[in-house]
Symmetry: D2
Subunit: 364 residues, 4 copies
């Protein structure tokens, strides 16, 4: 931690800062500059609040030096984490592996509205090359008068869709109390943007044996996202996938500002895989495809896309949802861009959009 | 809802939009402008997603007309809501009444660290004129390595401080599962900024009989804040206090940007009381006093301030905490500004254990 | 400047950084922490770009220590600058003095639309206690199809209004080429938010003998605002008034987010006076009065307010303009809040809103 | 324009709104909804300020319907504009054509520092496949103590580099007074982000016969960017290239937040070409390459990249500048991604002095 003294700070003030640094078990080193004295406090500063020194007389500002998370940091863990959902009884190993060479596409409806809708969508997205199925059963809705999801019934339909297609299920869990229930059906537990700092929920998903897809909060910095991941990792669950889904800015042409530079910036800081959700990240279907391609070009390990049979009739977020045709076309583009940046597209067991004989597979 | 058609949209596209409007039980009215056709859809649009129409062929954009919350709206409820914590056995009626003429000051430590700290602080802030005591027992901490609060032990110390001073206790609850426990000790349940969109928690506090202090999320619009209030009101709890506590912007001189125009803007939209937290809203103690005074001048119904015996030794947020002297001086300023804008300062009730002659003091 | 090395940076990398620091005429000091090596570079870092070190092998990040402006800094100049417009031939000394104890109110129409409008407004605002007259003759308009101002004709009307009321004229100058022309009429030259980083213009107003009212850019940090002031000061013009006028954020209930914490934050960094423009800062007349009062409570040295005879017919920004009645009432509030925070309201020579015999004065 | 009345607005208030609409030459149409009355005002609303109606009694809000720019709009001009710099005497036709099928890369130093630096860089970027040369001679610097550019001397070096390589020169002009001077040397005039709303400058470049590269302001909406373009187009200059270069948000890992969704969003609104500057858009060289690739994938018509012989010694913005090796590698990536999205990379013309066998190279 670097403590910058005000110009003209006295020797007594300096001595008091040094003493305060020693009290926190850090070691003070004084540097006498031409205009300022600076105290460098060395040691593990992670448990020490900058506020401790900010209020001392003569202190101008305090600047932390270390990234404050540990387990999520590239410094702690060499190499990159690859996250794989565990096989389910009766559903052979899944093709999805986030953080490996191949780009992984999760697709499905924003919200599960019925058995037919989700099974039909699962088949269609699998046929086009998706390797995981998304769908919301518990929905956090800003508007209390909006549809709030089918809850457990929705989870059952997702499980049926998994049985029909072999795709692992990615779905959101809203509270610590629901983690066990949702984990009974889901292969990957999603933590939504609004819950990124729901620390009780983060701890709860850290205690179970399921990969966690952690969405960046609407106004979260990368440090805050990595802190949230740290909460999960600290409980012993090493399988966290980070997801950029747009931040809130002054822009009005899109629902959020998709910050794709977060992808390479995160990958420079953490060994965890990083994916992008261009559906929520833009909120308009005409922006989804270009931003999906851009995300892959920027180095994303995967995408999460909203696809439904008839987006115009979707109860939730229809405006940002692709239909089957649009999705199929987009998958061809994703595959081409993934190859252009030296990666491929993870394909469903038995083939996908690129596989010449994908149409022969039993369930796709 | 106003549906703007693209220039050159065909009669067929227009007819399809009209049909879609009728399907949602709204009534379409077509206006033929010089450059655009516009469909005004009248009726209760609150349950209808703009996305329903956005994807229709020929539609350029969709603009909602109605504020989408009802119970929180000034239109629904004439007059202003006054929120009063219920008396406790053995603790006479509380002086705090948010939304009345007097400005209500809540003060206390960011985090409860021990019995002595909280009781001493309670006595000091009461002596200076605060009418409610704040203190965190369950702390949502960004950094998982930071102190997370004393939990139930902290609540017990708060209750002791209430017994000693007659001040009602305002404290945060982090999850639906804890609501009953916290409500056993607290007179006002605080929902923190990070939980403003934790809808399960909002519903849970809506089901019990305690006022709710709802902090604005770091990147929440006023509509979203009022939606969050609506979740509580819908469950039957009418006592919600809204709190502006700073939003996240590009500014770096303060922890957040305290948006004081939110105070009059909220009061124009809702009958609920609106208070301001300049401690979290700025993050620096030297900014707290000017922004506290500014909040009162802007029409806030109250303030929430962090005060501790020795801010430099606080485990959490010391940099934004006032000491007793600073708080006492600030209270004099608050009282003067409150009078200047035609309001007064709510004063602690006469029954406080350690302030027998409080009523003699001018403004607290 | 503090240069933080990556963990595991080699001795060679460290030596290269030390050499690079010496090349810039700064002095390197190495601190060996438990996890990182840090190089403190002492000396005048203002001319040295952090980028110089950022690209060196083994460097993680570079943190400047010094505020990069000098002349604008409180460190350079003890006391506070008081800015007074010079007397005009025939117009006795002006009452406006920004940075003194009294709060200074500038008022007038957004845009000069005609002789009668501006003279009538000048009389009215003077009668209510304003001590300076604003009015735009050269208007920077986002929309090219909007009214762009009367230009020199508008300046002439402003000069007539000054002659009629004794109020100094504050008006915007848009380009270096116009500085002399505008300075011929104006007593204070305003640099608008869009031009805060128009460095040629800043230099030009730095070279003449007129106070400069410098508005904060819509997305400018305080450092950037102070840099802009520095451009003016460097040319020898010491009379700069800073103006907070709202920043651009995600908020939608107001045109901008008025960041009142900028007032005390600026006053802690600079000796220059700081005023607030709540008209542009909010964009809605119902928000202007509460934010004007809040600005005074936050310590602003003055206000800039839009007032017009019939705001509904204003060609520009009518929605945020007060009528004479609203302004008069607001001035009473401003006076009360100014007194509550230990300041007064600067009054026009001969009286103002507070002066019992103000109505006797010849011109208002 | 849609004027929403408050609930309970009277017939008199409604009639006054209708009258006010007619006064502006728009035509009012009243729609009676269940909760609100709405007045749709049809006609060309572009010259009418919403503020005109906002202050009328009984009005709740006013929502414009039309995009307020005309010449820049896709509605006005079918097809897409292709911008080509005019040939120079002695320098054959340029390969750069923004808005055509091929992706156009502009590269060069942030700031011209000397003859050798710029000529060497021009040769290197041309060899790697760039088709235009950038370089700043007039620099707008936030910090007044920073290097401000070589001015006309810098322009001369740029012209020499053009002569040596056949690359057209793209360089910034800071003021209307300099437009003729700079246009004497430059093939494309750049308007920087800080000047996007310098309307005098926009008009001045609109009056001459040179393509204009218009950078988006740091906090400009897309509408504001298109308004700025409209200023140029209105003067008769049809050749405007729009450039996304990052916006200011709360993010701190990058200098700006590069908003790539602006690319497809702009292309849906305007016929003008859209390029991206990932150097300023990120501020860190490690983020430039991924964001350059992402921009192409998102549909950008070109890129603007900072390249210098030794970025560590650059006087300006070294931290975001690529060296020749990094640029060459990036160009291979850009070419691959451009092909993946169905486009190619524009290649330098055969006439370049030092690249006689350029056409043999694969993609550069």
């Amino acid at each position: 931690m670097i403590i910058v003294m005000r110009p003209g700070a006295s020797q007594e003030e300096l001595a008091a800062v040094e003493a305060a640094v020693r009290e926190t078990a850090l070691e003070p080193h004084v540097i006498y500059g031409t205009e300022r004295k600076v105290v460098a406090a060395t040691g593990d500063e992670r448990g020490v609040s900058p506020g401790t020194f900010e209020l001392l007389s003569g202190v101008e500002k305090v600047m932390p030096v270390l990234a404050p998370y540990k387990l999520a940091s590239v410094e702690t863990r060499p190499g990159r984490t690859v996250v794989r959902p565990a096989p389910r009884p009766g559903v052979g190993p899944f093709a999805a592996a986030w953080g490996a060479r191949e780009v992984v596409v999760i697709a499905g409806p924003c919200t599960v509205e019925g058995r037919e809708q989700v099974v039909e969508t699962a088949r269609a997205v699998r046929a086009a090359g998706a390797v995981a199925l998304r769908g919301g059963a518990f929905k956090p809705r800003t508007n209390p008068y909006s549809f709030q999801g089918l809850m457990e019934e929705g989870l059952e339909y997702m499980a049926e869709a998994r049985a029909a297609t072999g795709l692992p299920v990615v779905t959101e869990v809203l509270s610590a109390a629901d983690v066990k229930l949702v984990a009974g059906y889901a292969d990957v537990l999603q933590i939504g943007a609004r819950n990124m700092q729901n620390y009780l929920l983060l701890r709860a998903v850290g205690e179970i044996n399921r990969p966690v897809l952690l969405k960046r909060g609407m106004s979260a910095t990368l440090d805050e996202l990595l802190f949230a991941a740290e909460y999960v990792l600290m409980q012993g669950n090493p399988d966290v996938i980070l997801c950029e889904r747009g931040i809130r800015t002054f822009e009005r042409h899109a629902r959020n500002t998709l910050s794709l530079a977060a992808v390479p910036a995160l990958k420079a800081r953490t060994h965890l895989p990083v994916i992008v959700d261009p559906s929520h990240g833009t909120g308009h279907s005409y922006l989804v495809a270009p931003m999906a391609l851009a995300a892959v070009a920027a180095g994303a390990d995967g995408l999460m896309l909203e696809v439904a049979p008839d987006p115009r009739r979707a109860l939730v977020d229809g405006g940002q949802t692709l239909d089957f045709c649009q999705f199929e076309e987009l998958m061809r583009g994703i595959s081409a861009v993934a190859r252009a940046v030296g990666r491929g597209l993870a394909l469903p067991a038995g083939g996908g959009a690129d596989a010449p004989d994908r149409e022969k597979t039993g369930d796709g």
